[in-house]
Symmetry: D2
Subunit: 337 residues, 4 copies
């Protein structure tokens, strides 16, 4: 920790700070600067009481941490890329992985048609929401267990592993029984109890970025998974909340290379949520691949205008097939298959 004192304070005020630093288990190291005294407090910031609270003292101007707060997810701790195996699919390897399917599972017909269409176009994993977190209590909340059963059926018919959202600690066993990957949504990205419960299933976890999460906070949320002994974590950028209102969210594609730099874990991009506009999805996929994403999560629906949730961001079967074709040169340019 670095503690900056205010200019022109009394010697006794300085001494009091030094004493408190020692009391909290750090070794202080004084630097007398041009206008201010700076104290380097040597000690492990991750295991000891933080010194940030010293900011309440009137003689203290600033307290700055030195260490990174995340450990297990950091590339420092694990320099090589991690990969996650789900059935025959490897996420984080040379091959770009595409997860596609409807926003919500609505009916057997809708899901089976979609599963077959996305598989044919090249998707390897099937996505579909059975439990849906909705802004309004009056919106469709998902088919629940019935939706999970349909996903399992689609998996049996197509051979594709399935990813679906987990949004309640109460559903952990139920969802883990049917899903191959547990998705934690943006609204639950700092629902730490849910993260811990999900981690304990041992299932691979896709952690979406919270709507207004700084990258450090996102990595720390991921740390909750690894610290609970589940190494199978992937981060998913899905758009952040900004002042822009042309799109539903602002897809922060720069988060892809940043998370790849800071962490060894795979990075997924969800352009559907990211923009909320089907017309932009294909182009954003190209950007995501060029920036190094390991996988894409894309919403596809037989007839988006009649979708029960988030229709505006779902692409049609034809749109998806074209997207996949057009993506090929970018996948190659990125040195992937």
């Amino acid at each position: 920790m670095i503690i900056v004192l205010k200019p022109n304070i009394k010697k006794s005020e300085e001494t009091a700070v030094l004493k408190e630093i020692r009391k909290l288990g750090y070794r202080p190291h004084i630097i007398r600067g041009v206008e201010r005294v700076v104290i380097g407090a040597v000690g492990d910031e991750r295991t000891q009481h933080t010194l940030e609270t010293l900011i309440t003292w009137p003689q203290v101007e600033k307290v700055m941490p030195v260490q990174k707060r995340y450990k297990l997810v950091s590339r420092e701790a694990h320099p090589r890329n991690s990969t996650i195996r789900v059935g025959d699919v490897v996420i984080g390897g040379r091959k770009l992985v595409v997860m596609a399917g409807p926003c919500s599972v609505e009916s057997e017909k809708q899901l089976m048609q979609t599963a077959k269409a996305v598989k044919k176009a090249g998707a390897q994993i099937l996505r579909g929401g059975a439990f849906k977190p909705r802004t309004s209590p009056y919106d469709f909340q998902g088919l629940g267990e019935k939706g999970l059963k349909l996903l399992a059926k689609a998996r049996a018919e197509t051979g594709m592993p399935v990813i679906t959202e987990l949004l309640s600690e109460e559903h952990v066993d139920l969802v883990a029984e049917y899903a191959d990957i547990l998705q934690i949504g943006t609204r639950n990205a700092q629902n730490f109890q849910l993260l811990i419960a999900a981690a304990k299933t041992g299932k691979p976890i896709l952690l979406k970025r919270g709507m207004s999460m700084r990258i450090e906070e996102w990595l720390l949320a991921g740390e909750y998974i690894l610290a609970n002994e589940n190494p199978n974590l992937m981060f998913c950028e899905r758009g952040i909340r900004t002042f822009e209102n042309y799109t539903r969210n602002t897809l922060d594609l720069s988060a892809v290379p940043i998370v790849k730099e800071e962490s060894h874990l795979p990075v997924v991009v969800d352009p559907s949520q990211g923009c909320g506009r089907a017309s932009l999805v294909a182009t954003l996929c190209r950007g995501a691949v060029a920036l190094g994403a390991d996988a894409l999560l894309i919403e596809v629906h037989p007839n988006p205008a009649e979708a029960w949730s988030d229709g505006a961001q779902q692409v049609t079967f034809d749109g998806f097939a074209k997207l996949m074709r057009d993506l090929r040169p970018f996948i190659e340019a990125a040195g992937r298959e």
Copy 2:
């Protein structure tokens, strides 16, 4: 719903939109404008399939909802102010209510001292965290049930009702057993399953605004509580996330009159979380009262520099007593007691 078509589209494209609108249960009403055709679709937006998905159609430029999405929380539905009774304390009435106490319950001594100090200075409700949502898994996570028991003991000794955070569906029964008010934190403000579970306890609920929640979304999260038959809801502004980094969050005091205008429910302000700096708390309390807040939630600690969580924003006993004294003229100016 208002549907705006793109300029210069074909008659058949217009007809297709009209047909879809009717199919989804609305009655279309055409207005031919200077450059564009606008369709007013008459029907209940809250109970019928949304038309927003029409935006995926190439001939559609914009879709705009007309109705407000919240109902039970809205002042339209309930023009008079609602009040909430907790023991002898009434929130939302003429009297300004102050809830104060430590960020985290740390020990019996710390809690009892604080409870007595805040009561003496005029607080009516005791706050204290037993389960703490922390950004890092390595930070102190609260004393858990032991903390709840200490809160109950402090209530017994001081007569003050207690408010404490509920952050897991698994803890609902446990926390509801000890707490008089359940606090839902900013990170769980759209954890809808937790909202539903909390509502079902029948206990009064304080719903903090999510870090990047628009007011409409906040009101809709509140709608989850009332729709689950718990009318005892209060909204708590605690700062939103912006680009400013002088303070931890940007306390959005304008949210107070806005929520009072849109809703009949009481509004609480948490200036401690709002700014993350003890030196600003007293001044922000004055602003909150002037803007019409019904209650304040203030963090107080015997020795903030050694607090186990969020020390930087906790005020000392003396600071709190002075804050309460200095607040008096503003409470009177606001026509309150």
Copy 3:
């Protein structure tokens, strides 16, 4: 400056950093921490080459400045409050100052009526835009010089000093000839050439906060005024840009006590721009006063619905008179007149 090195770097990489630090004129001071080496570089950050560029070196993890970058505007440099005299009016003293008038000067009748109405209700300074910065080139751009002349006429008739916006270096002499206070708008808050030109007139300057300006940047923009030998500066909070769309901007009332803490200069609040909704203006004024604002800037129009600019945020004559009456107890509570 504090330079944090990455963990596990070679001795030669450390030496290279030390050499560069010395070359750029600082004295390095090494602290060997638990995982990382931290270097305190002693030297004046305001006059010497910044070390922040060291971040491009692969062995450097973080560079953190120690000093505050603003000087003349800071309270450190000038502990007592500054005041600004404009005619008989003193801004920053014990008396709360109200500046009111139409968003745009539209006609002699509109301006004279408004000037008299706001004076009668207690305003001391007349506001009115002659040159208007408008998002669209097709919107009304102000009456220009004709508007300035009308303002001068209103001053002659009412005795109130006038404040009006300066938005072009080309207009500096013209506007300075007519205005008593030059207003720099949010879109020009970092138009440094305009700031310098305005400063050189010697006239008092009201500097609005840029839409997405951090407080540090705002204070530094003010530093441009004082560094150009004009001490008559006041800061004006007018709302920042956030994700919230209920209001046009989010009025950051917490900026009031922060700027008062960091700077000795007066602080003004513009609730009209801040929210863009006339119905909220009166309540926000109360909050601004409670938080310590020295002055208010309020838009008033004889018939807001027919205003040529920003009608939605202008209050009527009756609305303004009521606002002023209702404000009185808060002014007293704040210890002002």
Copy 4:
């Protein structure tokens, strides 16, 4: 315009709104919905008095514009892509254009070396700042005219056209004399007087996005250029201000396809400003190309650690050469040369 009335208002209140709508030149068209009355007001929103001010009326709940506010920059007005010719270079055509050079012109040696290095690596246009807008008045403000002369010299020696920032109306003639493209920086993106003055030179203009500008506002700022009879405009995304602090700004790459969809004008991306970190620049360039950018603006310096401004975001000569090589497959994937 669409005007939504509040529920349960009196007939006379409705009539008053209809009367005002007619008075302001629109033809009202009533739709009686489930809960609310909606009025479609037919008339040209771009040439007539706005109806948005009706929101001040107590019986009005919402006013929503229907038309887009931009015209000349819109793709609607000009369906085919526009191109801009600067010397032999065409921006907006099949060939991707790279503009590179130092953030600030510092010396003849620094500029000439950089110009040759970037040309060799494939850049077609030389960038370099002579007048620099700096957050602090104590930071290096550019070499001014001397810098412009050096740019002219570098052009003479390398044959590359030059782009440099214009930040003052007073400098328009001077900068236009030396520069081939005038850059308007983020802080001046809504300095409309500067936009008009720049437009009148007839020179091509690169308009950076304001730090917190919505895309609509950016397009409208561009409209100021075209409305002043200069068709040679390109938009440049350079990062927006968000809550994220890992990078200096958040590069909004999704703005590229959005502006291409809404406008016929070329789109440039500045990844150096966008992230403020040299290590991310190359990767962001790939994303920009994949998303359809017509040109890139990249900061290159012989020794970034000693740069006089923004060193942290400038790449070295070797870094730039590698960036250009690595970019090739993405340029091809995007169907460009």
